[in-house]
């Protein structure tokens, strides 16, 4: 690929080109970047960019697209060239967006308070009453002064004459600041020298201020702050978990919270814990099914009442969505003069709210030059480009608008400015919109320097994340000193030391418990199949029985094999069955499905896991895909790779996770799962093996990774009792049943709010297990054909014990669930509406 950056076509025409004024030479503040890109060269840039894209995939940075037929979790798409903003330009933008934030905040305060703007005619009453986002239960509810908006996003675009315009305000739960942060991390990694030498204003101070602002909103101290997310299916879920982790907040869904005595509590494994501040990513009307939208399953019943009682703060305040409507825009200049005694610094894109007759008439007379949109987006109407309405339908459309004119706004379309995008070794101009963020520190407003630059998917003016566009970093090039604060490297403030982590939410405990179980389950399946595959190809009919026994240990309900009672399956059938056990995602008991579960429950707690663990989980998900050739022959190597990753995971689990409640539940999950399948495997030995099945023992040792231990003790003689001793009774073997039970009992002693009955049952099981003296047990030997008749009492007692245990172990798991997790994420039912 030969690329010449000098010859990249720089278009100059009907749009503003961020890069170049004349289409030939870069603007002054772009020269350093262009020189730097040229110095790096296209090949090196491509290499670096490939690395970055791999990292995006590995870090699991995603944006779920509702309409994506390929399903959710599309990798986040970003561009390597940042949008550059010069110091003076930034000063202008910053002043403009801060003023706008102040103004919007005051407007909200009035509309949810005295409504003087309505009575004195500065704000049209119809615009208030017709707006479904006006939440009447919140009127008159006291919030701390100046605190309606904690943070808002303002979308800016630049018209051909170089003027910045506001396209939209996002005032209830603005998305994207986390993606902006992630973009910065990636781009500054790809272009480290350029970033270092460009004196770029940093983003971290903004997020530090956000954390401090929320602590202040709580009234100081060491408040419990939660980030309320609609859940993993939301398009920006990645960002929710990213921000929660970055700011140190607890990520919760509505069902994790409950209202008691007019206050909000988090359900944790230690019981209920009071919540002081909710940073929400759930839309206004979905936040409380009791007083707002009753069909919402995302909210917390009673939240509005808790807010009204002053027992919890919500950011942004409930009801803030009221001023997201574009219909407000034409009134802002007047409101600014009236409320702030200032001229509006940043104009909004020309907007007509049709609720006023002159505006409606103007719009109907100029339909060709505007785009008509719903004034209240919840009505779900798509924007209509006036020029595209066939002449014959224009009067019908006008009639529709006249019926409820206040439901419509019309806006002028702005020809968006373009910025260079790196594509296949070229720089190509693409339309951009800059989403900026303003934060209310409680003590003035600050702007995130730069923001999230959204880029049109192809040539053309439509910029939308929902439609699958991508994004860019935005660098504010500064002419003064730059604060290089990092969130993880605090400055000189004294720190209060905490040893005790806040209690773990029940839903998190639930997910990590199942993460432990699924990871262990995956390992068991992988080990069993890996030991079977080479044997299946070698086996004769006689050995087949032993392989079937091993397969039976999977307890696979979805097995395709014929029932043994009817006829012995063939080797061919077993081979197909094993392929299906590994790769058929539709089978809940397959390795692929189990790893998908690992990925799902891991994803639910991604903010609680280290970056390395998240990385491992994403690797695991893809680890068993065999693309070419004979799957069956590829499998041993593939499964070995999968087992390596699983070992890495369990290593991290042991060595890298703090021994808090989270780890406790993960370990319990793992021990329980291992005890469950081990018991099943051991029972295969205590149901006496016939002679030709003794090679089953070899398989079993391999699956338990205990072949070497066995050989060093017994050399090569395979003896069922010796195998039982090693895998059942040997308390030093981390894969023995005894080891699992003792550890489970240890872990149960550490549980908050003990589970005494089950702990006693566990200790009892350990004692009973120890009471079997394998030396006194007789095992039917090959040749002693009449074995069963003899009454091998010890062996059948052991068999009975294992059967009991097979029943007990899942009951412990169920009891644990109902004790610690059952109220987690249970959704309430609506009665009476």
């Amino acid at each position: 690929m030969s690329v010449d950056l000098d010859q990249t076509p720089l278009r100059y025409g009907a749009t503003y080109d961020e890069l170049s004024a004349d289409g030939v030479n870069p603007r002054e503040h772009w020269t350093h970047l262009m020189e730097s890109l040229r110095a790096i060269g296209p090949e090196e840039l491509s290499r670096r960019w490939n690395r970055a894209e791999r990292r995006i995939r590995e870090n699991g940075i995603t944006y779920n697209i509702y309409s994506d037929p390929l399903g959710a979790n599309r990798p986040w798409r970003i561009d390597l060239v940042p949008l550059l903003i010069s110091p003076d330009e930034w000063r202008f933008i910053e002043q403009g967006i801060i003023q706008r934030a102040q103004l919007l905040n005051v407007i909200l305060e009035d509309l949810y308070g005295l409504q003087e703007l309505v009575t004195n005619g500065h704000f049209p009453a119809a615009l208030l009453y017709a707006n479904p986002a006006f939440l009447r239960p919140l009127v008159g509810v006291k919030v701390p002064p100046q605190s309606y908006l904690h943070m808002l996003a303002i979308d800016l675009a630049r018209s051909p004459d170089g003027q910045w315009w506001v396209l939209a305000d996002r005032t209830q739960a603005p998305a994207g600041s986390g993606y902006a942060l992630e973009n910065r991390t990636i781009v500054s990694d790809v272009l480290p020298d350029l970033f270092r030498t460009s004196n770029v204003l940093r983003l971290a101070p903004f997020f530090r201020a956000q954390r401090e602002a929320l602590i202040q909103l709580a009234g100081g101290g060491n408040p419990r702050i939660v980030l309320l997310t609609p859940g993993p299916h939301n398009e920006t879920y990645f960002e929710h978990s990213y921000i929660a982790r970055y700011l140190g907040f607890t990520l919760v869904e509505g069902a994790d919270l409950t209202v008691r005595d007019r206050a909000v509590f988090l359900k944790t494994v230690d019981g209920l814990e009071k919540v002081d501040v909710i940073l929400r990513r759930v839309d206004d009307s979905f936040c409380d099914p009791l007083e707002l939208r009753s069909e919402s399953l995302l909210g917390v019943p009673g939240l509005v009442d808790a807010v009204a009682a002053g027992n919890v703060k919500v950011a942004n305040a409930l009801g803030s969505g009221l001023i997201e409507t574009a219909a407000l825009m034409p009134f802002l200049p007047g409101l600014s003069r009236h409320l702030l005694d200032e001229e509006l610094k940043l104009p909004s894109v020309a907007t007509w709210w049709c609720g006023q007759t002159p505006a409606l008439d103007w719009v109907l007379n100029h339909l060709d030059s505007v785009v008509v949109k719903p004034a209240f987006p919840t009505r779900g109407m798509e924007p209509v480009f006036g020029a595209e309405i066939p002449q014959a339908e224009k009067s019908k459309f006008a009639e529709q608008m006249r019926t409820r004119p206040y439901e419509y706004v019309a806006q002028e379309q702005i020809a968006l400015s373009t910025a260079p995008v790196w594509e296949n070794g070229h720089l190509i101009p693409r339309s951009v919109v800059l989403r900026t963020y303003v934060l209310n520190t409680g003590n003035g407003w600050i702007a995130l320097p730069g923001g999230l630059t959204r880029v049109a998917e192809s040539e053309g003016p439509i910029v939308s994340m929902q439609r699958g566009g991508h994004s860019k970093d935005a660098w504010v090039l500064w002419d003064g000193p730059v604060d290089t604060f990092s969130m993880l490297r605090p400055r000189s403030e004294p720190v209060e030391l905490h040893r005790v982590a806040p209690a773990v939410p029940s839903s998190v405990a639930d997910n990590v418990f199942w993460l432990g179980r699924y990871v262990e389950r995956a390992e068991n399946i992988a080990r069993i199949v890996r030991s079977l595959i080479p044997r299946v190809r070698r086996a004769d009919e006689a050995e087949l029985g032993c392989l079937i026994r091993m397969h039976n240990c999977l307890e696979s309900r979805h097995s395709k094999l014929p029932k043994v009672k009817k006829r012995q399956p063939t080797l061919r059938e077993l081979e197909q069955e094993l392929v299906s056990v590994v790769s058929n995602v539709k089978r809940p008991d397959s390795l692929a499905a189990t790893l998908a579960e690992v990925s799902r429950v891991g994803g639910n707690v991604r903010e609680r896991l280290s970056a390395d663990m998240n990385y491992l989980i994403s690797q695991l998900r893809d680890s068993i895909q065999v693309e070419h050739g004979n799957q069956f022959l590829e499998y041993p190597a593939t499964l070995t790779r999968c087992l390596e990753l699983l070992s890495a995971f369990s290593g991290m689990e042991r060595e890298n996770i703090n021994r808090g409640s989270g780890w406790l539940f993960m370990s319990i999950g793992r021990r329980l799962e291992r005890a469950i399948y081990l018991t099943r495997q051991l029972r295969e030995v205590t149901t006496p093996l016939c002679e030709q099945d003794w090679s089953f023992l070899e398989c079993l040792l391999e699956v338990a990774d205990s072949s070497v231990s066995y050989r060093t003790r017994y050399f090569t003689t395979l003896q069922p009792l010796a195998v039982l001793d090693l895998l059942m009774a040997d308390e030093m073997n981390p894969r023995s049943l005894d080891f699992q039970l003792r550890h489970l009992a240890d872990l149960y002693r550490k549980l908050p709010r003990h589970m005494d009955d089950d702990l006693r049952a566990m200790q009892d099981a350990v004692a009973r297990l120890g009471s079997f003296d394998l030396r006194t047990i007789e095992y039917p030997m090959p040749g002693s054909a009449a074995g069963e008749a003899h009454g091998f009492d010890g062996l059948s007692r052991l068999e009975k014990f294992l059967r009991e245990l097979e029943y007990l172990l899942p009951s412990w798991s169920n009891n644990l669930s109902s004790r610690y997790f059952s109220h987690a994420r249970t959704l309430p039912i609506t009665v009476g509406q």
């Binding site: 009453a125 005595d261 206040y406 109220h823 609506t830 009665v831 009476g832 509406q833």
Partner: protein, 294 residues
């Protein structure tokens, strides 16, 4: 008239409920025609928290949380109310032409005017539609005085729609009721409000009760023994005019007003969310008994 009203709602759940958050809108309002003497709310099992708040429309809501495990929830509201007669004879005669009222509404920035104007828009359960406007315009002929047109519309709805408790439920949209021409008092009220708002008049939903015992010589009214609903329309100077499309009457001293809002959703007598529960049934019994002449 003095009335004693007992309104008892019983929820029976299939499975135990561990936490129930509920709101009641069961406290009669006080107004020129209506005085609340006393009201008590009896909830079983007793709630861990119970608190009263006045909503945006001035109704008194009670929020309560039951935190003990229960399979049955009983909410009984007992109130005593004094009602004064308010007849259509007190209505303005002939009153302003309806178009004038509709035209003036957006420009009336008085407290009463703004308060009324909000009821001229769509609300969560009521849409503005051409079909509703067309139906309303048969009564609201050009320059007809608002009160007269309103009574005519009330009469037509009463005549054209059949009372039928089998075809609709609390969530049936007015469009469907309008198509089927069947429903209960809530549906008739919704349809009439939709008609009035579709021609730019302000109309609100009134929830209340109807006296149980018929007066001698008068037919027993529909909607007794249950909560009732009717419609109120804003007419400047005289205020709000109540009409009951279910019975084609102007509420007088037999209609007790509980609450008003934009539609049923704002004033449902009892709703909530229960953790657990599963399938459930609701039984409502209302008794409104005159106990004296006030």
């Amino acid at each position: 008239m003095i009335y004693k009203i007992v309104h008892r709602s019983t929820y029976k759940y299939k499975y135990p409920v561990s936490v129930g958050n509920h709101v009641t809108c069961l406290k009669p309002r006080s107004s020129m025609h209506q005085k609340l003497v006393q009201m008590e709310l009896d909830i079983q099992p007793p709630p861990a928290m119970s608190t009263e708040r006045v909503d945006f429309f001035g109704n008194r809501l009670n929020f309560f949380t039951v935190q003990e495990l229960h399979k049955e929830l009983v909410v009984e509201a007992r109130s005593e109310v004094v009602l004064r007669e308010q007849h259509a004879t007190l209505w303005p005669k002939p009153g302003p032409a309806w178009e004038e009222v509709a035209r003036a509404l957006p420009w009336d920035h008085s407290h009463a005017g703004l308060d009324a104007y909000q009821f001229a828009f769509e609300s969560p359960r009521i849409r503005i539609r051409q079909e509703f406007a067309a139906y309303a315009l048969e009564s609201f002929t050009p320059l007809r005085p608002l009160p007269e047109a309103l009574l005519d519309l009330t009469k037509r709805i009463n005549r054209d729609f059949h009372f039928d408790s089998k075809v609709t439920n609390v969530r049936t949209p007015p469009e469907e009721v309008f198509r089927k021409r069947r429903g209960v008092c809530q549906d008739f009220a919704h349809v009439q409000i939709a008609c009035l708002r579709s021609i730019n008049l302000a109309a609100r939903y009134v929830s209340g009760y109807l006296r149980t015992f018929q007066r001698p010589g008068q037919p027993r009214l529909i909607g007794a023994d249950a909560s009732h609903a009717w419609v109120s329309v804003y007419c400047p100077e005289s205020g709000w005019l109540d009409v009951d499309p279910t019975n084609d009457v102007v509420p007088s001293d037999g209609h007790v007003t509980l609450a008003w809002g934009r539609d049923y959703g704002d004033v449902s007598p009892l709703h909530g969310l229960a953790l657990g529960g599963g399938a459930h049934t609701l039984k409502v019994a209302v008794d409104m008994e005159p106990i004296g002449v006030g």
